[in-house]
Structures are given as structure tokens and as C-alpha cells.
């Protein structure tokens, strides 16, 4: 079942009003709720909840430690290609941007993978722009097959695919899928994505569900925070996650909170979030979705990332380059966005340990080698 009707209903004005007008009593009720529901989430995301940020943070911390312990999963992105046919106005890969374009061959991708694996990382996220003629499903699958032996967890963040294409990737060893809707506001989405296949809002909105049906183990969704007023975007993200959980209970759901940074196109977000806004968004999500992974990217500064660790984060990237070929110094193209936390894996691990957290590298054991009957 598509999330589209429920998502459209969220944008009828009622939900935004409920979030804006939630009072302190509703916030306190939500903070005490054993299993916060949508009304509680609205209260936790409300302006009134900002005055209770410390209480929210404490509950989010307790909830996270109970479910995930003092551990943080580490991963890194590998940019395979920055060719793109889309015109997303906020993105460094926008086809109108005159930046060096590059695409790794599968053997080059393997070299990048070896350089990454040498740092100890075992979870990899493969990224491409949207240029299916150059970097289509077969190409991504070819890279995945080469990289799988090095990375027990292999995810993709690529353009929206069909269910069959996701199945091809699953067979190639991909077990995770990341897809940001960018904004759940359909009208705004149309203005931000003026050309290219990504214009199709509905196709993108249901991509996570197609990935679930195709057998992905983990699905990571999110909105690009700063494009639209954040409270409703985070509410819609949470309801999208809940929708996926209800229909695909076996899939591990995760949410990213990417906050917009300046980039090569000099486009600035219309609705920037303060650090406090980001903390409120994260802690409210944690209480509503106690078991969901929460990812914080290197868009954020080292100091802020370190301080966010106890508040609900479960996954962080480390040793990040957003440029194609950035790990081996080969055909480096321009990155997708500017990173604010350039720390390598060892530095990230040291920072986590200083806070009493354990970096977790490996979180899955591929089962292809343990076929039934192979005792």
C-alpha cells in the first residue's frame, strides 16, 4: 500500500496546525507516554516542546541506551558517479553545475573499496547521481558484486528504482537502501526538481516500499532539512517510517537527519534549522520510533556530532569523501556537498570512546556461503 494518500492528508493544514498549537500539557503528556502516538509526536515537535528540550533529551538518551546500548555503527559513502540528469536546485551534482564529472569503473570502485576497508570499516554506502544510461542498475550491481566480499553490509543511495531493479541489487549482495524524499511537500518538491526523471514525486515516495518488497534488510529514509518548515517534514518522515514498519515489519527502518549546508551552486536553504531544532527533531523521532536507526552525516561539525551521540544517534559516517574517487586520489570530481566533519576512522573511534561509546564496524554476516545443507 502506497504512503501517498496518507502523506497527502498530512499536508491539508490540520497537522501543521496541530504541531504549531500543541500546548505544554500535551508536551508533558507526550513525554510521559509509554508508547507515544502521532498526537504525542506532534506535541514533541511543537514550538511548546522547545522549552522541554532537556527532558526530551534525557528520555531519548535513556531509550536509545536501552535499545542500542552505548554503541555507534560506523559506515562511509563511496561515490561511484556524479553524472546526473536532474536539476535539483540545491544539489552540487545538478546537471547545470559546471563541475568535473567522473564515474569509477567497477575495478576502480574495488580499489576505492580496498582503501576504505583498510581503515577497518565494514559497512559501505554506494552513491551515484541519476544517470541511468551511464550508471544504471547493471553497473551498480557489477560494483556491488566486487565490493561485497569486503563489506558485510552494502547499501545503495541511488535514483529511485523499480522493484525488479532492487531485486537485481539484492542478488548482487546489496542489503540496504537509502532514499531521501528531500521534501514531503509535493508542491515545493515540484519547484525544487524542475527537470529530469526525479521530477516524479510519487515514484520516489514509494521507492522505499519497493525496496522493502524486493528484500532489502535495511531501509533508510529522510527529508533534506532546510527545504521546507522542519516540524512537518520530520512528522511526515516519522509517519512514512511507521507506514513502512507496519507493512514490512521485518525491515530495519532508519532515519537520516541531513541538514542543508552551502554547496557549489551557492543555493541557500529557505528554512534553516538551528542546532536546537535539530536536537528537538532527533529526540522526538527517538521517542516515537524507539527501535529505528538514526543517522547523522558529516554535514555536521565534529563538536555537534560528538554532542549528538548520546541523544539518539545510532549510525555515523566516518572518513568521508563526497567526491568520486576521493579515497584513492584518482579521478576526483567535485563533491555533492561540503562536509564539516573531516575526521578519519581512527579519530572518530577515539572521539566515541572518549564519550564511553563503542564504535561498531560489522553488523551482519552475509549468508550466501552458508547455503542450506552446507553443515
Amino acid at each position: 500500500m502506497s504512503f501517498a494518500p496518507a502523506c497527502a492528508a498530512l499536508h491539508d493544514g490540520e497537522t501543521a496546525r496541530a504541531i504549531e498549537t500543541a500546548d505544554e500539557a500535551a508536551v508533558l503528556r507526550a513525554l510521559d507516554a509509554p508508547a507515544p502516538g502521532p498526537h504525542d509526536l506532534a506535541a514533541l515537535l511543537s514550538p511548546a516542546a522547545a522549552a522541554h528540550l532537556e527532558a526530551l533529551a534525557r528520555r531519548a538518551h535513556e531509550t536509545t541506551v536501552r535499545h542500542f546500548g552505548r554503541t555507534i555503527q560506523l559506515f562511509t559513502p563511496l561515490y561511484l558517479s556524479n553524472h546526473c540528469t536532474n536539476g535539483c536546485v540545491y544539489c552540487g551534482f545538478n546537471s547545470a553545475n559546471r563541475i568535473p564529472r567522473a564515474q569509477l569503473t567497477p575495478p576502480q570502485a574495488l580499489e576505492e573499496g580496498r582503501a576504505i576497508a583498510a581503515t577497518g570499516l565494514r559497512q559501505l554506502l554506494l552513491l551515484t547521481g541519476e544517470a541511468p544510461a551511464r550508471a544504471g542498475t547493471d553497473y551498480i550491481a557489477a560494483c556491488a558484486r566486487l565490493l561485497r566480499p569486503l563489506f558485510p553490509s552494502l547499501a545503495v543511495e541511488v535514483h529511485a528504482l523499480s522493484e525488479d531493479d532492487y531485486r537485481v541489487l539484492v542478488r548482487a549482495g546489496v542489503d540496504g537502501m537509502t532514499m531521501f524524499q528531500e521534501t514531503y511537500d509535493r508542491t515545493l518538491y515540484a519547484t525544487l526538481h524542475p527537470r529530469g526523471p526525479k521530477r516524479d514525486y510519487a515514484w520516489r515516495l514509494d521507492a522505499p516500499q519497493r525496496a522493502c518488497r524486493a528484500g532489502m534488510r535495511t531501509v533508510n529514509i529522510g527529508a533534506l532539512l532546510g527545504l521546507a518548515p522542519w516540524r512537518l517534514e520530520v512528522f511526515a518522515t516519522a509517519m512514512h517510517a511507521r507506514h513502512l514498519q507496519r507493512h514490512h515489519p521485518g525491515v530495519d527502518l532508519a532515519i537520516s537527519l541531513p541538514r542543508m549546508r552551502p554547496h557549489a551552486g551557492a543555493w541557500q536553504p529557505a528554512h534553516p534549522l538551528t542546532d536546537s531544532d535539530l536536537v528537538q527533531a532527533m529526540t522526538a523521532l527517538r521517542l516515537f520510533l524507539p527501535q529505528a536507526g538514526i543517522t547523522i552525516s558529516t554535514r555536521e561539525s565534529p563538536t555537534l556530532r560528538d554532542n549528538l551521540v548520546p541523544l539518539g544517534v545510532t549510525r555515523m559516517s566516518a572518513g568521508v569523501s563526497t567526491a568520486v574517487g576521493g579515497h584513492t586520489g584518482g579521478e576526483a570530481g567535485t563533491g555533492q556537498f561540503e562536509i564539516s566533519d573531516p575526521r578519519g576512522v581512527q579519530d572518530m573511534c577515539a572521539a566515541l570512546r572518549r564519550r564511553g561509546y563503542q564504535p561498531v564496524f560489522k553488523d551482519w554476516e552475509p549468508l550466501a556461503d552458508a547455503a542450506p545443507g552446507a553443515a
Partner: protein
């Protein structure tokens, strides 16, 4: 020391005699280097670890390197969503040198993390046939427990509350049914948040308790491990000593029928005419 077990009281599983009835885990620690001290302080002899977190190529960071040699390794199938995945993980665990004990976890609901009893029974049957000592994690359901027993489980591991919640013995009545009805050891797993709750499970007659979250996420994991070790031993001793039966209502300490005496009172004497 009150933690000294009765010399002749042991738990036998898979041919191994265990003096300690506390099982511990390796998940959720801020630092895996705490694990040896946790094992020592708790007195536990069995430790469970998620195979998906084991990386034999990780050198000193390898989880297995932190587990003391004397511990029985109980790899678990965390992450398995189907019986087939659990079976494959168990085989990998054995091939990787983690021994032949396996704790089966089949969870296909990422929101509530409740185990799938049907799939667990199927995996148990396959693995028991292959010579594994199978300890399945389960909802405390009598019918599922009987299926697991028939499938060759070495024990059953019912949850006290949903995993990671620290909410205690919420399923107390159902666990009591399993303890009463099964010939297999009943090891309470998941949900135990405090030593007093572990003690309660042992007083009820549970064969053992598995505790991970409450130890790993405590401010002082080693201190908490010691406390759990003592609580489990105390609960066991209380069980063996026959705690007074619990009644729904208070009963007078001077019973109304006390005049009858233990022999039921004298029979009426024949009265002379």
C-alpha cells in the same frame, strides 16, 4: 558468601554441568574490554554473542578476543528473520569456531522485536538434528514450548518482557506455566532490568536467567554483573529452600483449626451408658 551454590545443585545443558545459573551477553557495552571483568564478577559460565557482530579479521577489536577461555560460548542468531537465516547463521557460527551451542532468535518485527515461534521451532528441529545444543528464544507460550521440546531444544528461553525494555517479569504467569509443565530447563531471557527481578524468576523455579542490557547499560556494568550473580544465586537458594506458598489473601498466623492437631484429633470415645 551467600553466592556459593549448593555443591550438588547444577544445571546440566548439552552434557555440560553449570554451577552458575546466570548467563550474560556481549551486546550494548560501551567498551568490549569490560567483558572479562563482567564475566568474573557475575560468576557466569555462559555468554551469548551475536554472530553478526563477530569479525575474526578485526584483530584486537574482535569481540571473541574479549571472552575468557573458560566461558561456554552461546552464539545467537540475532538479525535472522526466517528459520532458514537462523539455520545458516548457526552453521556459520560453528564453522567459525564458536562451538555447537546456539541460541536461536528469529525476529521478523523490527518494531516490537518479538520472536516468531513457528519459525523458531522449524530452525530448532533442523539444528538439533545436526547436533547443535539449541536454546530457542521465545514468547512464553505453552504450545510453542512443547513444539520446541519435541523439536529437540535443550532448554527454552522465554522472554520476561520485550527485549531491551528492562521492564521485568511481565510474562510471569505464563513463565510459571512453562516451569510447571515442561521437563526442559526454562531460562528467562530478555526484559529483566534489575537483580530483584532475576531473583524473582529464580524463586519461581526458573533454571537460569540471561541478562545483557541491564548489565551492559548500567553505570557500573561490573558492579551490576556482581549484583545479578548474587541475586540469581539467592533466588535459586530460596527456590531450593521452599519459599512459603503465596496466597491471595492474608491467612491468620494462629489457624482456627489449630486445635485439631496434626493427627486430626481423637476419635470420639465410647461413652459408658
Amino acid at each position: 558468601m551467600t553466592t556459593t551454590p549448593e555443591p550438588d545443585d547444577f544445571l546440566e545443558i548439552g552434557g555440560t554441568r553449570l554451577q552458575s545459573r546466570l548467563f550474560v551477553g556481549t551486546g550494548k557495552f560501551g567498551d568490549d574490554a569490560l567483558i572479562p571483568a563482567v564475566c568474573e564478577a557475575s560468576g557466569a559460565q555462559v555468554i551469548t554473542m551475536a554472530l553478526r557482530r563477530v569479525d575474526l579479521d578485526a584483530g584486537p577489536a574482535n569481540l571473541m578476543g574479549h571472552i575468557p577461555a573458560h566461558m561456554v560460548r552461546l552464539p545467537n542468531t540475532s538479525g535472522a528473520r526466517t528459520a532458514d537465516e537462523a539455520v545458516r547463521i548457526a552453521r556459520l557460527a560453528r564453522a567459525m569456531g564458536c562451538g555447537h551451542w546456539i541460541k536461536i532468535e528469529v525476529v521478523a518485527d523490527s518494531r516490537h522485536l518479538l520472536p516468531d515461534g513457528y519459525a523458531t521451532a522449524r530452525a530448532t528441529e533442523t539444528l538439533a538434528r545436526e547436533g547443535f545444543v539449541v536454546l530457542p528464544y521465545m514468547n512464553p507460550d505453552l504450545y510453542v514450548a512443547r513444539s520446541l521440546a519435541d523439536a529437540g531444544a535443550a532448554a527454552v528461553m522465554p522472554l520476561g518482557a520485550p527485549i531491551g525494555t528492562n521492564r521485568g517479569l511481565r510474562t510471569r504467569e505464563m513463565i510459571a506455566v512453562l516451569i510447571e509443565d515442561l521437563d526442559l530447563p526454562v531460562i528467562v531471557d530478555a526484559g529483566i532490568g534489575r537483580p530483584s527481578q532475576a531473583c524473582e524468576a529464580m524463586e519461581m523455579g526458573a533454571a537460569a536467567c540471561l541478562v545483557n542490557t541491564a548489565i551492559a547499560t548500567a553505570a557500573d556494568p561490573v558492579g551490576m554483573a556482581r549484583a545479578f550473580g548474587r541475586a540469581v544465586a539467592a533466588g535459586r537458594e530460596a527456590f531450593l529452600s521452599g519459599p512459603g506458598a503465596v496466597r491471595a489473601r492474608a491467612s491468620a498466623s494462629s489457624p482456627l483449626t489449630g486445635f485439631l492437631g496434626q493427627d486430626g484429633g481423637r476419635a470420639p470415645q465410647e461413652v459408658a451408658p
